[in-house]
């Protein structure tokens, strides 16, 4: 506790770094995966290459990925951009399949009804397909959120600062309180972001509760 009170400002700064390094790749992964998942669900030929291709990304171990990504995009390994790009790739690996399943779960008759009423393709996507894909999409998003928050800590090994820095630093200098603080806060961040996603889902999908009761 003593260690924590003395290092509060450092821990605070690392917490903010950690949040940024989690939220940005999660948001980017959603932006990339939703259209890819939609394509995989609607075009049978696109399905296998998309799902296999993105799924394989997850097989790349994270440490080498950080090291490969950096020269590819021309930034230093320890740059936050490296972490963001690498974690976005992992997010996409998990989320494309979930998004494909989500769009696949939208009932055909409902899409037919939407067409029959005169939704143009764009209107159908925003007003019908995306909301109805919401519940399934949300459950894969929750996995991505928790996994990303946890993977951010690996970045500390290559020098990108996050709550993971508290492990690497604490380990090298033998400060148990530092390791413990990093661990607990990482779990708290994961829980908190997960809770926000669940709550946002409830607000965005009021029909789910109305029907359940």
């Amino acid at each position: 506790m003593n260690w924590l009170s003395q290092n509060l400002h450092i821990v605070g700064a690392l917490l903010v770094d950690h949040l940024v390094l989690s939220i940005v790749p999660i948001a980017l992964a959603i932006l990339v995966s939703v259209p890819l998942g939609w394509l995989a669900a609607r075009y049978r030929r696109a399905r296998t290459p998309l799902l296999t291709g993105t799924g394989l990304l997850y097989a790349i171990p994270s440490l080498p990925l950080f090291i490969i990504v950096a020269p590819l995009i021309g930034v230093p390994v320890r740059s936050p951009v490296t972490i963001v790009v690498a974690l976005t790739l992992y997010g996409v690996a998990l989320l494309v399949r979930g998004a494909a399943d989500a769009f696949g779960s939208v009932p055909r008759e409902t899409m037919l009804a939407a067409d029959a009423m005169g939704h143009a393709a764009w209107a159908r996507f925003w007003r019908v397909e995306l909301p109805l894909a919401g519940p399934v999409l949300l459950s894969s998003l929750r996995v991505v959120v928790v996994s990303t928050v946890s993977l951010v800590t690996v970045g500390a090994v290559v020098g990108a600062s996050s709550l993971g820095t508290l492990f690497t630093d604490g380990f090298q200098r033998g400060i148990e309180a530092s390791i413990l603080t990093g661990l607990v806060l990482t779990v708290v961040v994961a829980f908190a972001l997960d809770a926000i996603v669940v709550l946002a889902g409830r607000l965005a999908m009021p029909w789910r509760r109305a029907v359940a009761t």
């Binding site: 008759e109 109805l132 029909w207």
Partner: protein, 270 residues
């Protein structure tokens, strides 16, 4: 007026849904396409709003080939009712009814207000406006489906087995109400069903279809009942069955109508 001129629909792979179909449906009339599943009746219906384009032949509305129209605009100008209403499960009843006016750019507020009037018109309590489709009974959902189809005040209504998913009592009720609604509104309606009784209950003109959407017989319900064109039509309408062969028996000075099994079905009006 809706006109089908020698339309044919062949799917890639060679299966033919519609062989060669021609028909003119006059304005304000109810034409019922009746036939077993897979006879091509739904395909014909979907040609009217371009959900399906014919492989050859043309469909025109008031003399204009539908292929020259933008499909999205065309669909918004035509009411479409599907089985179980085809309601959007994530939208409230009022929002479902307001769908087309909102797509057309009407303010959501005004469209929802109009929706309440439409709900009353189809016999629904406006207290249901903020519920979701899954919270309504099958019959109620069906009424919402009709209200939604009427929302943009279309001249044409396409109805694809709209009452197929509700129980017989509710179906009778919905059919009766649809007749009185139609007497008031005078839309041009194309109605698809596999239920011959429903066809006779609603159609000004009934078309009995065989596979490939070949017209086995076309006429008023009375004409078809009186003179079925062939064996196929006779068996489809149940001509000769006990329920269709009625006789009159005098009972206590009144003429009672009995069916082929001698079961009374009604009394002749004096």
């Amino acid at each position: 007026m809706i006109e089908f001129a020698s339309v044919r629909k062949e799917y890639p792979g060679g299966s033919v849904a519609v062989e060669d179909f021609s028909l003119t449906i006059p304005s304000h009339a109810v034409a019922v396409l009746v036939g077993s599943s897979g006879c091509g009746k739904t395909t014909l219906l979907r040609m009217v709003n371009r959900m399906v384009d014919p492989s050859s032949g043309t469909v025109s509305i008031d003399g204009v080939d539908v292929r020259s129209m933008d499909p999205v605009k065309l669909r918004r100008s035509i009411g479409y009712v599907l089985q179980a209403g085809g309601l959007l499960p994530h939208r409230t009843i009022a929002d479902n009814v307001a769908t087309v006016p909102v797509l057309e750019g009407r303010s959501r507020r005004q469209a929802r207000k109009d929706a309440l009037g439409l709900l009353e018109r189809v016999g629904l309590d406006t207290a249901l406006a903020d519920r979701y489709p899954a919270q309504l009974s099958g019959g109620q959902q069906q009424r919402v489906g009709v209200a939604r189809a009427l929302a943009a005040d279309p001249n044409i209504l396409l109805m694809d087995e709209p009452f197929g998913a509700v129980d017989p009592i509710v179906r009778d009720q919905l059919q009766t109400e649809m007749r009185s609604l139609q007497a008031e509104l005078g839309k041009t309606i194309v109605f698809v069903t596999h239920d011959i009784d429903e066809a006779f209950a609603l159609g000004d003109e009934v078309l009995v279809l065989r596979k490939g959407a070949e017209i086995a017989q076309r006429g008023t319900p009375a004409e078809i009942l009186a003179n079925p064109a062939d064996e196929f039509v006779a068996s489809f309408v149940g001509a000769g069955s006990a329920r269709r062969t009625l006789r009159i028996r005098e009972v206590g000075g009144r003429s009672v109508v009995v069916d082929g099994d001698d079961r009374p079905t009604g009394v002749l009006a004096r």
